[in-house]
Amino acid sequence: MAVLKINGEDKKFKNAVPATLKNLLELLKVDEATVVAEINGQVVPRGNFHNTILQDGHKIELIRFVGGG
């Protein structure tokens, strides 16, 4: 069992957490163009989502944007 804390809530994974931040967003069906992501308080630039490795226990904030202004 592996866990990511996403926006304050534990999300459990049977074997391992998704390999990268990009993989996690795909799993959650979140369009990466509309998300600001933080891991353990550090902002991850969108261009680095594909090579940002996730680890068991990471605290992740996903700030999602919808259009309108």
Binding site: E38, I63, F65, G67
Partner: protein, 209 residues
């Protein structure tokens, strides 16, 4: 026409807000990224209460489709929004300093355009542009705070628009779901509620810093 000179205008603000709050507002500089429904309403609020300087940026012109929610007038159609907004704000408070940039915001020009601003309001329209601005500010502008909006479409559900402090540098306003891509239209009342939350969060940041 009756006029208020600078001393009279300032006396009015001090009478309303108290000297201490007035001095903080007067010495504040706030960036407003985008001058649509959010930005034009945030700018009007901050101008009315005597924020000393605002830095405004937008690339667009005033169009007929803006008039259902944005603070422009029919005779300003076709004018660039920065010039039109500057004109309208100066009618409200002739003493505010306005630094206007008619520009499309990019990760490269954002830190330069808003270099004087310890607080920035995210007032863009498209989700990916909002993402770009917030990421750029958090990553490239040390200690700068940003108040961003996600989810303000439609009508009713006034109390679903909320203000959440995500971190010391990021405040999020909105219901996080009512986007234009889901078919919600943008209407003056609910856009103004979100802009009011945003301006109010900025005032709190200024007065409690």
């Amino acid at each position: 026409m009756t006029k208020l000179n600078y001393e009279q205008f300032e006396a009015m603000l001090i009478e309303r807000h108290g000297k201490s709050a007035h001095e903080k507002l007067k010495s504040a500089t706030v960036g407003i990224a985008g001058l649509g429904g959010l930005g034009s309403n945030v700018a009007v609020s901050l101008t009315r209460i005597g924020v000393g300087k605002i830095v405004i940026a937008d690339f667009d012109l005033v169009e007929p489709s803006n008039l259902n929610r944005q603070q422009y007038f029919i005779d300003q159609l076709g004018t660039n929004k920065v010039a039109a907004m500057t004109e309208n704000l100066k009618l409200i408070n002739p003493y505010i300093k306005i630094d206007g940039h008619q520009a499309r915001l990019t990760p490269d020009n954002i830190p330069t355009i808003f270099s004087d601003c310890p607080i920035i309001a995210e007032c863009l329209d498209k989700a990916d542009q909002k993402q770009m601005l917030v990421e750029t500010v958090l990553n490239k502008m040390n200690n700068v705070k940003i108040v961003a909006v996600s989810g303000l479409g439609g009508y009713g559900r006034s109390n679903e628009i909320q203000t959440h402090k995500i971190s010391d540098r990021l405040i999020m306003v909105g219901d996080s779901t009512s986007g234009i891509e889901s078919g919600f239209s943008l209407m003056a009342p609910r856009v103004a509620i979100a802009a009011g939350h945003q301006a109010n969060a900025i005032v709190e940041l200024i007065l409690e810093s």
